[in-house]
């Protein structure tokens, strides 16, 4: 058979992939391949285009060499754009000549959309798509100080990072109200913005550029519809891409309303001799702006050209997972809940900067989409759920909750298919883990060594443990519930050992019942148990090394190593004089000041050595520590109650203050929150607390084990119409029973859910005294209440304890150089660049 000619227009990523695949297929015998590329260079990896600014050359990014094209017998015409197609005579034309084809493949990709703004074509305006674009930007940046990227999407943010890496002050101007409007929602976009601004890129949203004119402080000025303006030396447009369909349009091929060359499942256009693949192709009314779907199209077309009857492109998943300026961002499936009836679960931790959203089907059984900002840890698992249509566990929120909040462990590892990717760093699937277990691994450690799972970023460690545990259990291997490698006991068992044997130090406990030196899991756990049992000062010599840094320094460490301070304000009631003291202290030490959700005031930015001085002043004004750092009672929130309110039936503030003073300082497995409402209108939101008290006209109703925040749970009604004394006795018993029996870092909500017999059992123990321990629990509580001391008072009065608060013991005047500050909305806040990966 005579050779036919197959022409490919476009030598980009997908065009090249097509050639690679086609050359390996039988049909290549029958075709002479000819390629036209508009760019000067041979196909290169556009996905990693930005690395060109990091020092990579075209050769580094190239997808093949000229020698490879030679060896395959491909006729390569670079720097030679096709200018027209004559379908009738099957001829393509370039500035250099006319070429006959039998089969024609369009792989022309897309071009950056430049919004029609007056002045958008002057010197200093660029796009970000090709090596040539980057050369031009680099040349211009050499004489520039600032640069603006128009468009806050995925590519725009990448371009902004590139400008920053060229040493420019980078700005992003976005028309929409948030960044990455396609992939993210308002909350996710907001968090991303905050993180990116922390890295020094300035973000301007809801800005419509009307005109670009010569600037006053820089080369150019962007004028916005709201009459503001921004001066900059160069502008990069990254406002989306448009399929490059000019040739197809001109020769009368069917194109989509908004562009794109219409193709069928075999990637063939309305002309049977012409095909289109990659970003220029419109399949099922959709354009695919990612490389993977383009590759799939290329392979489909190769199969079709090889007469494979089953060859069909069936769409592609557009989920994306990336690091933008070092910030994890993930968007999966129907991220915007556009499917009718879809429901959302959101988790937003402002402290650690994590935002996670799951979009569930109407019946809550399937995951439809997800958004992640700050940490892509759950990405792979969530993607598995979406792609495989796996039924969600009963508590789907566990998929996006941090483990310490009762998160990941609740995930049904059983539900994952063997193909589910558990560790994305080393591409380990659940199947691989099962194989390792079948080959003799009996714990997480050996599975890690065998498969390398969780030895990369470590983000999957909780999931890995879950899978290993569940697989071991299936095989009848007993799963270890040890606290850690140092103690073969659960927290509850340790509590019992400590209490019964009167053990008062970690050293005693570990030498009698454990091994080794301890670690950051068992030390704080034992520290908390010892405090719950004996209530000794957290800074007593033996206890210092046990505490998490927050407990050690009795303040909450923030990400730049400074601390926040929260004095106790019982019931949220504070005198004007005390409020003034807080203001004065904050002012003197330049502390960022914020009102908390628990009706108190948080003062941020104190250095280690400032803590005792600040507390001296606060204590002198009558303040006590608020234990915001401890796993202990936080606040008792209250509404104003019958004293002022027209509807109040009891003095809720008085009760809240009494409860807060009673339980303050008590160490528990996790933090405990309470609230008291003065009537059923429930203004104190008591039903979202661990212990909620609501006034009735006969007394108090008690609700227990509620939770707000990450994993909301309504508290359960526990007892009704209690007198003041009955109320306190009941709370005493429940709290103490929780302290004794809960797991490490288990909130009351999760504790109750895991308590065999549940609420009824708890009622029997507490209200009917079925275990006969009621009095003992009360007595234990009474001891703790009577031994309470303000830890801060004890610390500032003791020179030995104060020594702990020296920033650098040999250099009292030395300031920590990484603590840099800037001002925002009239207050000081930290600037901090992340140094390592």
């Amino acid at each position: 058979m005579e050779h036919q000619t197959l022409i490919v227009i476009g030598n980009g990523m997908v065009g090249h992939h097509f050639l690679e695949q086609f050359c390996q297929s039988p049909a290549s015998e029958h075709y002479q391949l000819v390629v036209f590329g508009e760019e000067k260079q041979l196909a290169y990896d556009r996905v990693h285009l930005s690395e060109y600014f990091g020092g990579s050359t075209h050769a580094d990014l190239a997808m093949a060499t000229a020698e490879w094209y030679d060896a395959q017998g491909i006729e390569l015409h670079l720097n030679e754009p096709v200018t027209s197609i004559d379908r009738e005579n099957q001829i393509v034309t370039t500035p250099k000549g006319h070429y006959l084809y039998h089969q024609l493949v369009l792989a022309t990709g897309s071009y950056p959309f430049v919004p029609p703004i007056a002045g958008n074509d002057q010197d200093g305006c660029f796009v970000y798509r090709t090596l040539a674009d980057l050369d031009a930007i680099r040349a211009s940046a050499a004489q520039a100080r600032s640069g603006v990227v128009v468009g806050g999407g995925l590519l725009g943010l990448e371009a902004a990072n590139a400008l920053k890496s060229l040493g420019l002050q980078a700005h992003v101007v976005e028309f929409a109200p948030r960044l990455m409007p396609v992939q993210l929602d308002d909350q996710g976009g907001g968090l991303l913005r905050q993180k990116i601004e922390d890295l020094g890129v300035q973000v301007h949203t809801e800005k419509a550029t009307t005109e670009i004119s010569p600037g006053a402080e820089a080369r150019l000025r962007m004028n916005f519809a709201d009459d503001s303006h921004l001066d900059t030396d160069l502008i990069v447009f990254s406002a989306g891409i448009r399929p490059q369909d000019t040739l197809a349009r001109a020769c009368g091929l069917e194109v989509g309303e908004r562009g794109g060359i219409v193709v069928n499942n075999q990637c063939t256009t309305s002309d049977p001799a012409i095909h289109a693949i990659g970003e220029c192709a419109l399949w099922n009314h959709r354009i695919f702006g990612l490389v993977a779907p383009g590759y799939t199209m290329a392979r489909t077309l190769v199969a079709a050209l090889n007469q494979d009857q089953d060859a069909a492109f069936t769409g592609a998943d557009m989920s994306t997972k990336l690091k933008l300026l070092g910030v994890d961002v993930g968007s999966i499936g129907d991220a915007h809940a556009q499917i009718p009836g879809a429901r959302n679960i959101r988790f937003h931790d402002e402290q650690s900067g994590h935002y996670r959203r799951m979009v569930l089907s109407q019946d809550g059984k399937k995951l439809l989409g997800a958004i992640l900002v700050g940490d892509n840890g759950p990405y792979d698992t969530l993607l598995q759920y979406v792609l495989n249509g796996i039924e969600l566990p009963d508590n789907p929120e566990s998929l996006i909750l941090p483990e310490s909040e009762g998160g990941a462990p609740a995930l049904g590892a059983d539900a994952l298919p063997d193909t589910a990717s558990i560790c994305s760093c080393h591409n380990v699937t659940k199947g691989d883990i099962c194989c390792a277990i079948d080959a003799g691994c009996t714990d997480v450690g050996s599975v890690k060594t065998e498969t390398r799972a969780s030895t990369g970023c470590g983000g999957c460690s909780a999931l890995l443990k879950k899978v290993v545990d569940s697989e071991l259990e299936k095989r009848g291997v007993e799963v270890c519930t040890d606290l850690c490698e140092h103690f073969p006991y659960t927290r509850q068992e340790l509590f019992h050992l400590v209490k019964v044997n009167g053990i008062r130090t970690f050293q005693n406990l570990i030498s009698q019942y454990g091994k080794g030196q301890g670690c950051d899991i068992c030390k704080p756990t034992v520290g908390s148990i010892l405090a719950s049992c004996w209530n000794e000062h957290v800074l007593a010599t033996d206890h210092v090394p046990l505490q998490d840094t927050n407990d050690t320094f009795m303040a909450n460490m923030q990400k730049n190593g400074t601390y926040s301070i929260v004095p106790r304000i019982p019931g949220g009631e504070i005198t004007p004089d005390k409020l003034i003291v807080l203001g004065e202290v904050a002012k003197q030490y330049n502390l960022y000041t914020k009102i908390t959700g628990g009706q108190r005031v948080d003062l941020f930015g104190a250095t280690l050595s400032e803590l005792p001085e600040i507390w001296e002043k606060l204590i002198a004004a009558g303040f006590e520590t608020g234990h915001a750092y401890g796993k202990s009672l936080r606040t008792v929130k209250s509404c104003v109650g019958s004293t002022w309110c027209r509807y109040g039936v009891q003095d809720s503030v008085g009760m809240a203050i009494m409860l807060e003073n009673r339980y303050k300082g008590l160490r528990a497995p996790h933090k405990v929150k309470m609230a008291v409402s003065g009537c059923t209108r429930e203004c104190a939101e008591a039903q979202s607390k661990d212990f909620g008290v609501i006034a009735t006209d006969k007394g108090w109703n008690l609700y227990v084990c509620g939770n707000g925040g990450m994993r909301p749970r309504h508290a359960d009604l526990f007892a009704t119409d209690l007198s003041d004394d009955e109320l306190i006795r009941t709370i005493d018993r429940v709290v103490m029973f929780y302290v004794r029996t809960a797991d490490r870092l288990q909130r009351t909500s999760v504790w109750l859910e895991n308590l065999e017999g549940g609420l009824d059992y708890l009622k029997q123990v507490v209200l009917d005294d079925s275990l006969g321990i009621g009095e003992e629990l009360e007595q234990h509580m009474a001891e703790l209440v009577s031994t309470y001391r303000c830890e801060w008072k004890a610390a500032v009065e003791d020179p030995e304890k104060r020594k702990r608060f020296r920033e650098f013991v040999n250099a009292p005047a030395q300031k920590d150089p990484v603590q840099q500050w800037t001002f925002e909305r009239g207050q000081r806040r930290p600037v901090l660049e992340v140094v390592a990966s």
């Binding site: 490698e485 950051d520 704080p524 090394p545 998490d548 840094t549 460490m557 990400k559 040999n810 990484v818």
Partner: protein, 122 residues
């Protein structure tokens, strides 16, 4: 050839806290010194800077051992660093500086690189 170093005194035994760390300032930047009385040797010194957050906080982390290796857990994101090698247990690619430490009477000395005086610009 080994770069020149000095054994500089940074603090005294009284400054140390058993099973915990303190921070000192050296010409090479902030260093944390740990004292683990149940081990031999009992003194360890590593960089005070947590490479994951960039903050100077490691001396305020919890110490312990993982598979026998003495470690400190960063108080920020909880990664463990070997006190002997500085290696991060969760991320092989990350390592913090380790400083040889010794007890000289009552004083703790660390071996730190000699800082070359910068040539004065003409």
């Amino acid at each position: 050839m080994k770069a020149p170093t000095n054994w500089v005194p940074v603090c005294t035994v009284d400054d140390l806290v058993a099973d915990s760390g303190i921070a000192v300032w050296t010409e090479d930047g902030p260093v944390s010194v740990f004292y683990l009385p149940n081990r031999l040797p009992a003194l360890f010194a590593v960089s005070h800077t947590d490479p994951f957050s960039g903050s100077n906080v490691l001396a305020r982390g919890i110490t312990g051992d993982i598979n026998g290796e003495p470690v400190v857990a960063s108080p920020i994101y909880k990664q463990h660093f070997s006190l002997r090698t500085g290696r991060c247990l969760e991320d092989e690619g990350v390592q913090i500086k380790v400083y040889p430490a010794l007890l000289d009477g009552n004083r703790i000395r660390l071996e730190v690189p000699v800082v070359q005086a910068a040539p004065v610009a003409a």
